[in-house]
């Protein structure tokens, strides 16, 4: 296991000090998010040891696509492209909140607003993080870090002004995907020569479907957790207004309510909210990331399978050519090239997949440990608060 493969979703563990990348800052302008990509390097291929460039999400996509399209990297797992920043849901909620302002008490409104702002911030941070992780994975990869496009992406201090995909290309991309999946079905019949890949293929297919399901479920779970946190906010606001209006004669009830309300606000809302966001970060994100990563690995397998199919086709073509006695050398050449390509792909693919497995295990371990620790921490926080509350209540 290579040390630089010790990469996980939420960590910045770059042991290779020759190329350090991070995104210290990002600016959100309407739909566009501008990331400041900061690079520190000792590599001579860069002009300066340290520099920062502004990049947009589309630039990342461009980088990813060029990497995928590069023939030489067919044997590599190209790190999955970061997902498009999604600020829609908090924005929509904000909008809804604005509409419903009349029906809410002022306090409730401010609370909800704060909550939404926090959510927005969390989404923002997450977005920055996934982009950062993408770059870091590239930089820690022995081959990909040497990529010219990657270096340009890091260094070129002007706007990259990547040409946005036009409609035709979009359609082309879609078409290519169709072809690819059809092709996948076609070449599925090709007999696998290597047990390792055979195994790996079935595993990845299975794993992918499982992890996809798990991700969906985890997302749902976190969402309901968030709902509960929201409920707590509203509850605490209502209790607050109730205790404010409760007759002053009955200070005990007032006290109870107040306490209860405080408890809800401080403890449940915050903790529950944090549990939700931590679960989101540690579990859902992990699953989501690996879902994409597996997709990338599957792509690798596909490319290899494609090469295998090509090789077999070229074999057949060679046989045919030999039979007919013409273009034999050309066919031989082609067959040799295909074999070579297939062999390199197999070799690097094997290495990549092994790395991937190790990386996955490490990432899971780290995240699971962290999640368990956080859960314990939150539960303990909750408990202390609850105990305090009960003591206060029974003491009065």
């Amino acid at each position: 296991m290579l040390p630089e493969k010790l990469r996980s979703v939420s960590v910045d563990l770059n042991n290779d000090a020759s190329l350090l990348i991070d995104i210290p800052d990002a600016l959100c302008e309407r739909d566009k998010v501008k990331f400041t990509v900061h690079t520190k390097t000792t590599l001579s291929s860069f002009q300066k040891p340290e520099f920062s460039v502004p990049r947009q999400h589309e630039d990342f996509i461009w980088l990813h696509d060029t990497l995928v399209e590069t023939e030489d990297y067919a044997g590599l797992i190209i790190p999955p492209a970061p997902p498009k920043p999604d600020f829609e849901s908090p924005r929509e909620k904000m909008h809804k909140l604005g509409e419903g302002e009349a029906t809410m008490t002022k306090e409730e409104y401010t609370k909800m607003k704060q909550e939404l702002e926090a959510e927005y911030l969390a989404v923002f941070k997450k977005t920055v993080q996934v982009h950062e992780v993408f770059l870091q994975r590239l930089s820690s990869h022995p081959v990909l870090s040497k990529d010219r496009n990657f270096q340009i992406f890091l260094e070129y201090d002007q706007d990259l002004s990547v040409r946005r995909k036009n409609a035709k290309e979009m359609f082309g991309g879609f078409f290519k995907n169709m072809v690819k999946s059809a092709d996948e079905v076609l070449i599925a019949g090709v007999k696998e020569v290597d047990d390792f890949f055979e195994q790996e293929k079935t595993f990845l297919l299975d794993y992918f479907s499982k992890i996809k399901e798990a991700t969906a479920k985890a997302e749902k779970m976190t969402r309901s957790h968030k709902n509960i946190a929201d409920d707590y906010i509203r509850l605490s606001a209502t209790l607050n207004s109730l205790s404010a209006e409760e007759s002053t004669n009955y200070y005990i009830i007032k006290f109870c309510l107040k306490l209860f309300q405080n408890f809800l606000r401080v403890c449940l809302k915050k903790v529950e909210g944090r549990v939700a966001s931590d679960e989101e970060l540690k579990l859902t994100e992990l699953l989501r990331y690996y879902m994409r990563d597996i997709q990338a690995a599957k792509d690798l397998l596909y490319r290899r399978a494609r090469a295998l199919a090509d090789y077999e086709n070229s074999n057949k073509a060679l046989d045919k050519a030999r039979l007919k006695g013409k273009d034999v050398s050309q066919a031989e050449e082609h067959q040799k090239r295909c074999l070579q390509k297939f062999d390199t792909l197999s070799e690097s693919g094997k290495k990549e997949l092994t790395n991937f497995k190790a990386r996955r295990v490490v990432a899971f371990r780290k995240n699971l440990v962290e999640m368990a620790e956080l859960e314990v921490k939150h539960a303990k926080n909750n408990m202390t608060l609850l105990q305090g509350c009960i003591e206060l209540l029974s003491g009065n």
């Binding site: 779970m221 109730l242 209006e245 371990r365 440990v369 314990v376």
Partner: protein, 742 residues
């Protein structure tokens, strides 16, 4: 003197804080003492002007007042009902030994105490009867028999021409007694004792020297009454236990008189004795007169017990109500309202104490509703519940008994109770609503979680409802409640069916009520009520909102639990697909943890529902009942106002007739005026009584709510705490597994 204050609405303490109340009470008390004295004076005057008979009740009353002191504001009421309190005293003293020996274990006398003294309504009624009696007295003897015969054995006595008084006293005693008897039996031993303490403040402590119950709260008042109490109590005590401190001679007479009274069956005796006893000591010493009164009443009391124990409180109440009007014109009755005006603060204070006592109270009647069971099939199916009652009260035949009741029986009980007690301003705890949807589901027989949930919710709500009913000191006395708890078979409550004719009538009634509620514009004279009403309304709103929120919390929590379960499943799948052994194990561990957490969430959802949402739902219902009692008060007010308007009209007619000089019709008009005046007074009193009751009930309700809320919230928090502890355990167990991933 008192006539001016009498008409004004009861001087309730303003709605400020309880502290203020206290101070006010002190003030009220003072003024009352004055009143008492004045009364006394006037009373002793009146005898001269009239026959000397009327004095005896009055002076007795005022004597009592003086002595009792006296003080305790609450005793004013009693004073007016002088006759009834002393008898209790005697009872007390009778039982003194046993009482001192085992204070709380002798519930009988204390119950009486409680009932008469501790509860407003009765007090008011007692007063009312007194008023009525005295009123009759002044208006002439002949009236009396008619009223009295119905309820008392005193009828023959009335023929005794030497004194109109005795029968009156008898009647007086009997009426309250009837009440007492009807209502008495149960109630918590502690409550009574606190009430006693309240009423007799030091007396209380005097009587039961070393009585453990004598509340600290009564102490402050002690200062106010010094000697008199001791005198007073020295008196009766002496009469009973030969411990007289002063007035030896007089108490001697009392003693002498006492024994003769011990033949309860001979009313004539009583009266002669009474007359003698009252005339002799009264002139010189109040204590003695009291002692006398005490004796006679005690006897009467025992007698009354025999005769009236089966009378329902209601009938006696009615008697009093009808007899009230006659009181309006008499001078002695004037003093009564004045006195009556005071009770509220007394009641409030009393209530406070009572509630405080109740705080540590373990209920004497513990009701549980268990084992919901479906009876029958299809749409005729219904749920039957086992209602078990555990009690230490002697009013029940057994300590533990169980009956089977169906839901409509619960509703029927409520209907009866609210019909009986609602108009008096009591807050009758409401049962859970009918739910056609929920019940249909149960009927159809789907064994899913939602119908089980429904049944469990309803069971809990029914249990709390019944417990509230039996916790209410007055409602517990209701024969219907007892029947509900004890009787094996109940007649089927038909009127609760939504589609029945009765249901239809009810709907119409509700509609007319709603209309009249809108049309009645009451200019609230009492800020307390206004404020409370507002408070109740806003609380209602808030609780409704809260309830909706908690319900949505429950829904979300259930969702979470479902989603957690789903995730647990897919995590397990992922674990099985994983080819790294350690990671695979960790994942299946994670699945297990999530599975457990799912259970936790489910439990939490149940807690949310049962200890939080249901609590709030209960309060929404109760707040509705509180509002209902406010409505009843307004209705009483409306009746009063209507009567007043009518009276005004009659007066105008009279004036017209006078002007037109038509003497033949004039007499009729005058009669009508008298009649309507009486009615106005009665309605006004009704209104005051209802107001006082509502007030007391609201305070009681608030106290209970506070207590209940605190308990429930603590419980809820504890449950939350538990689940958090579980959570910690689960995750901590998972941690090494996660770390073991190589």
């Amino acid at each position: 003197m008192a006539s001016s204050s009498e008409r004004s609405p009861p001087p309730f303490p303003d709605t400020e804080d309880q502290d203020v109340l206290d101070s006010e009470e002190v003030g009220g008390r003072d003024s009352d003492e004055d009143d008492g004295e004045e009364l006394f004076m006037s009373a002793s005057n009146t005898p001269l002007t009239k026959q000397d008979t009327p004095t005896s009740p009055d002076s007795q009353a005022s004597d009592l007042m003086e002595d009792l002191s006296v003080g305790p504001p609450s005793s004013q009421t009693e004073k007016s009902a002088a006759s009834s309190s002393p008898e209790e005293f005697v009872d007390l003293t009778n039982n003194l030994e046993s009482r001192v020996a085992a204070e709380s274990s002798s519930p009988e006398p204390s119950d009486e105490f409680f009932d008469i003294l501790g509860s407003e309504t009765q007090k008011v009624e007692v007063e009312a009867s007194v008023k009525a009696d005295s009123g009759e007295a002044s208006s002439g003897g002949p009236d009396l028999p008619g009223e009295k015969t119905g309820s008392s054995s005193a009828a023959p006595i009335i023929n005794l021409d030497n004194d109109v008084q005795p029968p009156r006293i008898g009647g007086k005693v009997i009426d309250p007694l009837a009440q007492i008897l009807g209502d008495t039996p149960a109630a918590d031993p502690k409550k009574p004792s606190s009430a006693v303490v309240d009423l007799f403040e030091d007396d209380g402590s005097d009587i039961f020297t070393g009585a453990p119950q004598s509340k600290a709260s009564s102490r402050p008042e002690k200062g106010l009454f010094g000697e008199p109490d001791e005198d007073l109590f020295g008196g009766p005590l002496g009469a009973m236990s030969k411990k007289t401190t002063e007035n030896e001679g007089k108490s001697g007479t009392a003693k002498a008189a006492g024994p003769t009274f011990s033949k309860p069956t001979e009313p004539a005796d009583i009266f002669t004795e009474e007359a003698a006893a009252t005339t002799v000591p009264r002139t010189s010493n109040t204590v003695n007169s009291k002692a006398n009164g005490v004796h006679s009443e005690e006897d009467l009391f025992t007698e009354a017990t025999v005769e009236l124990s089966l009378d329902s409180p209601r009938s006696s109440r009615k008697n009093e109500e009808t007899s009230k009007p006659s009181a309006s014109s008499s001078s002695s009755s004037l003093s009564a309202p004045a006195r009556q005006a005071k009770p509220p603060p007394a009641a409030l204070e009393e209530l406070e104490d009572e509630e405080e006592a109740e705080l540590e109270d373990k209920f004497d009647v513990l009701v549980s509703v268990k084992d919901p069971e479906k009876v029958g099939d299809g749409m005729n199916a219904y749920m039957a519940y086992k209602v078990s009652t555990e009690t230490t009260l002697p009013m029940f035949r057994n300590k533990l008994f169980t009956v089977r009741r169906r839901f409509s029986d619960f509703l029927g009980l409520y209907e009866k109770l609210s019909e009986k007690h609602g108009p008096n301003g009591l807050i009758v705890p409401p049962p859970p609503e009918k739910s056609i949807l929920g019940m249909t589901k149960v009927k159809v027989g789907k064994e899913d979680s939602s119908s089980a949930d429904f049944v469990e919710r309803r069971r809990g709500a029914l249990e709390r409802y019944l417990q509230r009913v039996v916790n209410h000191p007055l409602l517990l006395q209701d024969p219907d409640v007892r029947e509900f708890l004890e009787k094996d078979e109940l007649p089927r409550a038909v009127s609760t069916q939504t589609l029945s004719g009765a249901g239809f009538l009810k709907m119409i009634n509700k509609a007319t009520d709603a209309v009249s509620k809108m049309t009645i514009k009451m200019n609230e004279s009492d800020a307390w009520f206004e404020e409370k009403l507002q408070e109740v309304e806003s609380a209602d709103q808030h609780f409704r909102k809260l309830h909706a929120l908690v319900e949505s919390l429950v829904v979300h929590r259930k969702e979470l639990s479902l989603n957690t379960a789903n995730f647990a499943k897919s995590a397990a799948m992922l674990g099985s697909a994983e080819d790294n052994t350690a990671l695979s194990r960790a994942l299946s561990q994670l699945a297990e943890v999530e599975d457990k957490i799912e259970q936790l969430h489910q439990d939490q959802a149940a807690y949310d529902t049962f200890s939080f949402a249901e609590l709030i739902a209960d309060y929404i219902r109760l707040l509705g009942a509180v509002r209902g009692s406010f409505d009843h008060r307004i209705k009483a007010w409306q009746r009063w106002q209507d009567a007043q308007a009518m009276l005004q009209k009659k007066r105008e007619t009279e004036a017209k007739l006078l002007w037109a000089n038509k003497p033949d019709k004039l007499q009729q008009a005058k009669d009508e005026i008298v009649e309507w005046e009486a009615r106005v007074t009665q309605f006004e009193r009704d209104f005051e009584r209802v107001s006082a009751t509502v007030r007391k009930e609201v305070l009681r309700f608030e106290k209970q709510r506070t207590k209940n809320f605190k308990r429930q919230i603590t419980k809820y928090l504890e449950l939350l705490l538990q689940s958090q502890q579980q959570l910690i355990k689960y995750w901590e167990a998972f941690l090494p597994e996660a770390k073991a991933i190589a």
